[in-house]
């Protein structure tokens, strides 16, 4: 079966803590993603996302705090704006926008984190691998 590779950019305060909670709760989810922890989701530069696709990622997950809960006041709104801009570019590159997923997952939502990882893995499986040309263009 096709095993998609996922890069997860997680904010330290909410989503990474949520991922830790999934662990302490011993929830089980698909092992397709590796987490990279940032202080805030607003540290994610669209270039990092394109780089991930170029380097072989089949999907990119960005996890931040729920609207209004950002540790840095409004970092998550900036992230949302940047992601929606990038989505237009992904279309042009021929990368399905479903491959870039932005979720608000709080420190209390271990089960949401697990569900998102499972759902996203399933979705990427159904989308299949990214075409090579698109990867090259992502550079």
């Amino acid at each position: 079966m096709f095993e998609p590779k996922i890069v997860c950019f997680l904010c330290k305060w909410c989503t990474s803590a949520g991922a830790d909670l999934a662990g302490t709760s011993r929830l089980k989810y698909r092992p397709n993603g590796v987490n990279i922890k940032f202080m805030c989701s607003s540290r994610v530069d669209p270039e990092h996302i394109l780089w991930a696709f170029h380097e072989g990622a089949d999907g990119v997950l960005i996890g931040g705090c729920h609207p209004g809960d950002c540790h840095y006041e409004d970092g998550n709104y900036k992230t949302q704006a940047r992601v929606s801009l990038l989505n237009r570019l992904l279309d042009d590159l021929g990368i399905d926008t479903r491959r870039l997923r932005l979720d608000w997952i709080s420190a209390a939502e271990g089960s949401k984190f697990a569900n998102v990882m499972n759902e996203f893995t399933e979705e990427l499986r159904s989308l299949g691998p990214i075409k090579l040309a698109a990867r090259e263009m992502a550079k």
Binding site: P31, M39, H48
Partner: protein, 651 residues
């Protein structure tokens, strides 16, 4: 190139069961820059730390990576160990292969492969890590305690006694909280007011404590050691500096308002103090129920107040305070009876909750301590107590155990028997939980001496039939259903966080768990701290707990604050933004995205610089910088790119 050491922890079997730790260490040896790699059963133990220190010296390592549990747990442990062996603490990184790998996956092959990629990701970061020095910041040695129940009072007194200043903010007009409502307390049956009132008075008089009752938190900004807090002092329409507490205004007020303190079993005027022992003992006018505010006529209180303390023109006041640490002790409330539809949805008058029963038992309560039911004042002869009313019910109400109900229900039945000798109490329970010093003995004696009938089963339905209140339950021990036509039913309703907690945590930006209680930084090892530094938690706001536990946690939180205040200065994480002066194009977009005003235009250099004291390291400006001039220390764009590549298993 740097010489990096990788240490892979088994965590007993916690990691080793799903991750092949030996293979992770072997693979690490092949990663560029890695000069040494080893696995060990417990890295956080002293021998584990000693191993790290020893290898740093022996192998002349420039940096270390510990592949173990979440950095929230042991990052500081290992950074201290690295520092002891001569490394800069920022040359130590933690790879989380437990919470985010071994505990969440089952396939050993895949988990091992993921663990290897996690380690490689951190290796790539570490290669480019700089040695950093923490940024010193000053501390305002004044604490804020939010919530004036027993938790807040205890914490405030402990901090105040150590010589630091405290502001104690309470939403109601008096401190005291729920403990002031209780009659007697388990398992010793001390009178609650007798043990609480001296502490309330002490808090009111302490030179280091400033009471701000009838006040709410409006806004909190800043960070540990340097918070700026805006507090709203609600208009009480009484000038407390003039009021001498004579009480004449309250006597004359013609309005009748249900007393929340007495659980609506009694009324008070629109100008009132919640209870006679209030601290401060000053009245407030309830604007929503005051006849003058509603109709424009009355002002009787004003007429009778000879010293002119009534002031209908008073307005809410915002005060600003500089604060170093904040203790959140906002307490609990109980699940409202109307939520329990199968128990009469609040429409059956003789179905009350435990706090209302406390008021009926209290010598200072509406019945002066006589047990009389609300509908007609009759002394109930058949009384049913229902435990787990909304607790341990994940499907419809609250999933957790409210912890104190087993004990207080037994206390209720026992105190009822002491007052109504020929009455019969019945207690429906699912399990009796008596964990606590002297608790099991208390329960044992009640069972033995008081003639209480314990029925093991959950009540399905309660309804009114004539002047009786019918309870349908079961006794799972005999396998027979039970029907009791009771005179009074007391529900041990679930303990829930105060409804204002959700709004408050948004202002404080601290975390709550799935049930709305405050989250602690670690469930076992950091139980009185929030994840966010500078915030401490105490009492039932963190989860159901009884008085001794609440007091213990409050003192512990106070101790944490005192320990913080005992330092000369704090150290701030230096992983903040910096600017490559040659690259800055002065577009100033960074200024617009910074939430802390930490990006400022430097006129001399003609570029935008970073104010290191204000930067919190979110990285938003780094992502926004169009020319790559702004970078984050130890999380540069080139570090992120190589981390991404490594996380995908690439070269």
């Amino acid at each position: 190139m740097k010489r990096i050491g990788v240490f892979v922890c088994h965590c007993g079997i916690n990691i080793a069961m799903t991750v092949d730790v030996k293979r992770v260490a072997e693979e690490a040896m092949n990663m560029p820059g890695v000069a040494y790699a080893q696995d060990y059963i417990y890295m956080c133990s002293e021998p584990g730390q000693a191993l790290v220190r020893e290898k740093i010296k022996e192998e002349e390592l420039d940096a270390v990576i510990i592949a173990a549990c979440s950095p929230n747990l042991h990052e500081s442990t290992f950074r201290a160990a690295a520092e002891e062996a001569g490394l800069n603490p920022w040359q130590c990184e933690i790879a989380n292969i437990r919470e985010q790998c071994s505990w969440v996956h089952t396939n050993r092959e895949k988990a091992t492969s993921k663990a290897i990629r996690i380690v490689d990701t951190l290796v790539q970061k570490t290669i480019l890590n700089e040695s950093l020095e923490p940024i010193p910041v000053s501390i305002t040695k004044k604490a804020l305690v939010i919530g004036g129940g027993i938790a807040g009072i205890q914490a405030a007194l402990d901090i105040a006694d150590s010589g630091y200043k405290i502001i104690l903010v309470e939403k109601e007009s008096s401190i005291g909280g729920h403990m002031a409502q209780l009659s007697e307390t388990f398992p010793t049956l001390d009178c609650s007011q007798c043990i609480l009132t001296p502490k309330m008075v002490a808090a009111g008089k302490h030179p280091n404590i400033e009471l701000m009752t009838y006040s709410e938190i409006e806004e909190v900004s800043g960070y540990v050691g340097n918070f700026n807090v805006k507090i709203k002092r609600k208009a009480s329409f009484v000038d407390w500096s003039k009021c001498n507490g004579c009480g004449l205004c309250m006597e004359k007020c013609p309005a009748k308002v249900p007393s929340l303190f007495d659980r609506e079993l009694a009324t008070h005027g629109a100008i009132y103090v919640p209870f006679p022992q209030a601290v401060p003992n000053k009245p407030v006018i309830d604007k929503d129920n005051c006849i003058y505010f509603k109709s424009g006529k009355c002002r009787l209180c004003e007429k009778v107040c000879e010293i002119g303390a009534i002031n209908f023109e008073q307005e809410d006041l915002i005060v600003e305070e500089e604060i170093g640490a904040i203790i959140v002790a906002t307490g609990f409330e109980t699940l409202p009876v109307p939520n329990l539809v199968e128990y009469g949805a609040g429409d059956v008058p003789d179905v009350i909750d435990g706090l209302a029963f406390e008021r009926l038992l209290s010598a200072s309560g509406p019945t002066v301590g006589e047990v009389r039911r609300p509908s007609d004042g009759m002394v109930p002869k058949e009384i049913v107590f229902v435990q787990c009313a909304g607790s341990r019910d994940p499907e419809r109400y609250r999933p957790y155990c409210s912890k104190i109900c087993c004990m207080y229900t037994t206390k209720h039945a026992l105190l009822y028997k002491h007052r109504v000798h020929d009455g019969q109490p019945y207690i429906f329970y699912i399990d009796i939980r008596t964990g606590g010093k002297g608790y099991e003995e208390f329960y044992h004696n009640a069972e033995l001496d008081e003639g209480i009938i314990y029925l093991r089963g959950k009540v399905a339905k309660i309804f009114r039939d004539g002047d009786k209140t019918v309870v349908w339950g079961t006794d799972t021990l005999t396998g027979r259903n039970i029907e009791i036509a009771a005179d009074l039913v007391v529900l041990a309703t679930a303990m829930i966080p105060k409804d204002s907690t959700a709004e408050l945590v948004k202002k404080l930006r601290i975390q709550t768990g799935p049930n709305g209680f405050l989250s602690e930084a670690h469930p076992k090892l950091r139980p009185v701290e929030s994840i966010n530094s500078g915030f401490y938690i105490a009492g039932a706001a963190q989860g159901p707990k009884d008085i001794p536990e609440t007091v213990a946690q409050a003192s512990a939180a106070a101790c944490k604050v005192i320990s913080l205040f005992s330092r000369d200065h704090l150290e701030q994480d230096p992983a903040i933004a910096w600017v490559d002066e040659d690259l800055c194009g002065n577009c100033r977009i960074c200024i617009s995205v910074c939430p802390y005003d930490a990006r400022e235009f430097d006129e001399e250099k003609g570029i935008v610089i970073v104010n290191e004291a204000l930067c919190e390291g979110c990285g938003s400006c780094v992502a926004a910088c169009a020319c790559g001039a702004t970078q984050q220390r130890n999380l540069s764009d080139s570090q992120i790119r190589s981390m991404v590549t490594a996380s995908l298993g690439g070269e």
